[in-house]
Amino acid sequence: MGSVASVLTSGVPVQEAAHWEPVLPGLIILLPLLGFVINGVLALRAAGWSSAEVRAGREWDPFAGSERPSTHTLPTWIGPGVMLVAFVLAAWNFVGMFGAELHEPVIRSYWSWIATSTLQVDAAIQLDQLSMVMMLVVTGVGFLIHVFSVGYMKDDVGYPRYFAYLNLFVFFMLVLVMGAGYAMMFIGWEGVGLCSYLLIGYWFTDREKSDAGKKAFIVNRIGDFGFLLAMFMLFQAFGTLDFATIFAEAEGHFAVGGGTVTAITLLLMLGAAGKSAQVPLHVWLPDAMAGPTPVSALIHAATMVTAGVYMVVRSGVLYALAPTSQAVVAGVGVLTALIAATIALQQNDIKKVLAYSTVSQLGFMFLGAGVGAFTAAIFHLMTHAFFKALLFLGAGAVIHSMHHALHKVNSHEDAQDMRNMGGLKDRMRITWVVMWIATLAIAGIWPLAGFFSKDEIIWYTAAWAGAEANPFGGLYTLYWVVALVTAMLTAFYMTRLMVMTFHGETRLEHGARSHLHEAPRVMTVPLILLAVLSVFGGWVNVPPALSESALGFFGALPMTEWLHHWLEPITHDAAAIQVAALGEAAHDAPLLGGGELAWALVSTLAAAVVVAVAVRQLGPRRVPTAAEDATPPTGLRGVLYNKWYFDEIFDRTIVQPVLAASRWCWSFIDTVIIDGFVNSVGNFTRLAGWFGSLFQTGQANTYAFVLTLGVLLVLGAAVFL
């Protein structure tokens, strides 16, 4: 992003506005695939050696020879290398598009994928402002995480396999983001589901980890079910699945608030809820922490989970046409944010806290998309990608060194449990500093990135709550209040995390303390870069109301509302429809009134107060280590600790009944009824045979008797009939 600022100021020659030729867009997608293929081959080769060793009874140790095993060298360069080239290409195209004031999306179709007489789907990609932003985030943050992974996964046996999966994930994510229609998006949609399945279950020999992977895939599949149905309805209505035609003809086909469009949007929301872990279908994300930490950073923080938000923003026109589903999206978003924030308060596993924090922030993004502030949602998505990735990678660094330390004294304490940490700030200085930056950013403290994006979402919720013709005005006000509360909660649990991990005296065993060391440079450099982005990322889209004020450095920031202008061609139609449907957004908040600037000041000051209070309160308190704190909390804290019992509820109401039904179907219907009938037909014939044999007694008399019976019957028939 830094390079962008430089290009902007140097004033590159603006190509003629009308037409802009993308530079090798196909290559951006192809590169990660290439990376996957090469790394895949390397992985299979390495796996071949390791399986040979395992078959011979020994464990395979690639580090036997040099410090740097042969299997690691190539993937180290190909994995991140491919990402770097893709990022550079994306940036280059961004610069090109930046100058070209593009209005119509550029669509490149490579081959016709499905071609029946009524359904025509091309393998086509679509380049416009929205997909460009997403591509930059995916490849940019992706590249930093790849570099971090080099350090993090250094002593893992399946190193090439890890990078193969990571590249495959980026490939599918790009297909999702750059797809020119719902069908292409669906390929990426399920593809990233597959990669998250493979990466969560990366250490597949561990049963819980592969269970977590399976759970993620099945829950995603439930979301994809909704997405599929939405696609069928779209095909039914438009006869095609391409974005261009659908969004152009949407207004013609649907009346505002019409039945089908609401159904379509709700089903799309179901798909988004599955993928972006919103309330009913969020259960898989916390378990997904079983995967390696960089995976959590890339997939479960920065890119995959934001796919749902991207899809909602991309189908903005449809959502604008269905106010009810907009209210539902916003409602689900804010509800998720609240629930996840409350759960995060009681979690002890550092990654679980961050996981619930992600779910909560995603809730905010859906709130933004729900109320129609699509730009705000994308803005928060971008800034969130920066500081959440930073938080996860920081946590990864902490876990890495904790693991290393505990390993040295070979104690079996959980390296991820915050109750075993404490006082790491003097050992891991850089990580501590960058983590604080990220925490302040996510808490929404001025001037960091989080403040601008989250504040804009909260403000738009308030603004649209006051819109004249908004049928859900009251509801939006409630959303606004809950959003404010959740923002405070976020500040609190993040500070709790920082305090428990870095402050106070270390609860680590004495021997292990000396082995705690700062992460190697290959891990800290991406951390620092992300920290820079977390600080300056927010200045990309400073709202006009704030840019002149103190909060906006009195106009010094060059790119006020840049992102808004940038995404104008995408969000323009949706905004127009929304204004027509709900009327102009109000200029001051409901209930207490006050402008955007006022409320921005209030929220950032409140956040600052919460952080200060939390540091002062939690700092001195002695936290029991994991061993001592055996009894799980009870009462309200217990409910939060047990994640509002979502897992148990789903297990008892859905999973067990289906399993029981399956067993019943097999044992009863299949074996007893159907097979029973089939076998009984067989037995019936044997039975008839046995009955017939009764008459063959062998004595002449019985035959005489039967003979007479026959005579009787014949005579009787002759005489009487």
Partner: protein, 538 residues
Amino acid sequence: MTDSLASIQILYEGWILHALVWLPILGLVHVMTSAGERAKNVAFWWSAAVFVLSLGLWWTFDAGSGGFTLESSTPWIESWGVSYALGLDGISVFMVLLTTLITPIAILGSFEYVKTRRRAFYALMLLLQTGVTGVFLATDIFLFYVFFELTLIPMYFIVGIWGGERRIYAAVKFFLYTAVGSLLMLVAILYIYFSSGTGSFSYEAFLAADLSMREQLWLFAAFALAFGIKVPIFPLHTWLPDAHVEAPTPGSVILASLLLKMGTYGFLRFLLPLFPGASQHPTVVAVMLALGVAGIIYAAWVAAVQPDAKKLVAYTSVAHMGFVMIGVFALTVNGLQGGLVVMISHGVSTGALFLLLGMMYERRHSRLIEDFGGIGRVAPMFATAFVITALASIGLPGTSGFIGEFLALIGTFETHAVTAIVAATGVIFAAYYMLPMVQRVLFNKLDKPENRSFADLSRREMVVLGPLVALMIWVGVYPTPFLERMEPSVQVVLERVEGARTAAHRGAPERMIVDAGAGEEAESRAATGTVDEEDQDR
């Protein structure tokens, strides 16, 4: 390139279909005369040769107007009007190619598996290939019926002799189940033969038979039962798990990939065209869709709790065929094409799955899922192939499974939205039954010592799985050549059913004049305004 194509086409004109049907018999003779060990190689090379020969069909087959191409008909039993007639159209070309592809692969896959009476085994496999190819190519109903019954016998012996413990029960059950169905069909065939009055068993004669709606409904029921057992449709499926569990691996592969397709092919070739009135009848369609959906959900649920891996995969076949049924009876172009693609992708993916299970059985002599665990650590190539095949089976986009299921569902949605919605839940249940198996076999701890010596794929096994995996991905990524070739034939079938629907709506008399003569046909078609179809009565 095009003129060489033309030359191949001319080259292929008359004899190719007959060659495809009867070459395996020559192979059979050669196998019987060769020594025991060499039998498998001879059989493999013969079927591979037939496959290479059939590849020519892929390029020379011009879909044209959807009717039969490369037709040839010589009288066989004069007095009854039975002719030995073969023909190829958009629907059967893929089935024939699937047959010629799967048989050599199944034979190659059985090199280590079959140890006793090898000559007889491979002879039966080639006989089976002839039977199945005959079924797909016959355009004379009598000849079709002969081949339909012929395929039963080798399969019966393969399951009965080389099978597992309860093979006799399974083989007898399989044979009786199918025989009962086909006898009913024979009755129906004879009924049409006599009522059509043309005194010939040819497909055109049967198409021209004008049957009242009541007759059509009864005949539909008879045919549907015979093919329903073969497909298998929901309540008639209990022979499949037994047959699969007890059958030897190559038997299972052929059974899953080819024999099930004869059922669904029957629906497309006979039920829809011969009884258009009945097949578009609302209650009939409702019943068939209900059975199809029930099959999908029921089979998925039952599959999830199977301890035996082969039985699990057998039930998944029932689920996949459920998709074909809803696709076919949605009576839309997408539905039918979706059904056809599911048939192809199921043939490839389930065939590969059974081969993989066979390899597991060869190494560990057990089919129970819990006997395995952590195979991924010990056999990475095997694990990769297993995961790709499993993904194709549950229909991940980018694999053939998805194309079929997506088209079938979208086709069904166009006419029967609710059915499509319920059937779409099958997508979730697909993951519900497949992923636990993949996890319990490949992932989890490598705790059992026997699994440690689980050898990875040998070169032969890679050659067996290679083409199947490649086909799964090719159809998933670039299905257009398949869709183009099947399109015209599907249109022809649909027009017949459409024609019947408009005739029924216009309150046509009880005895529906479906196809009496060109003149009337043109007039009735012009009346309904659909495009005039000259080659309708070729």
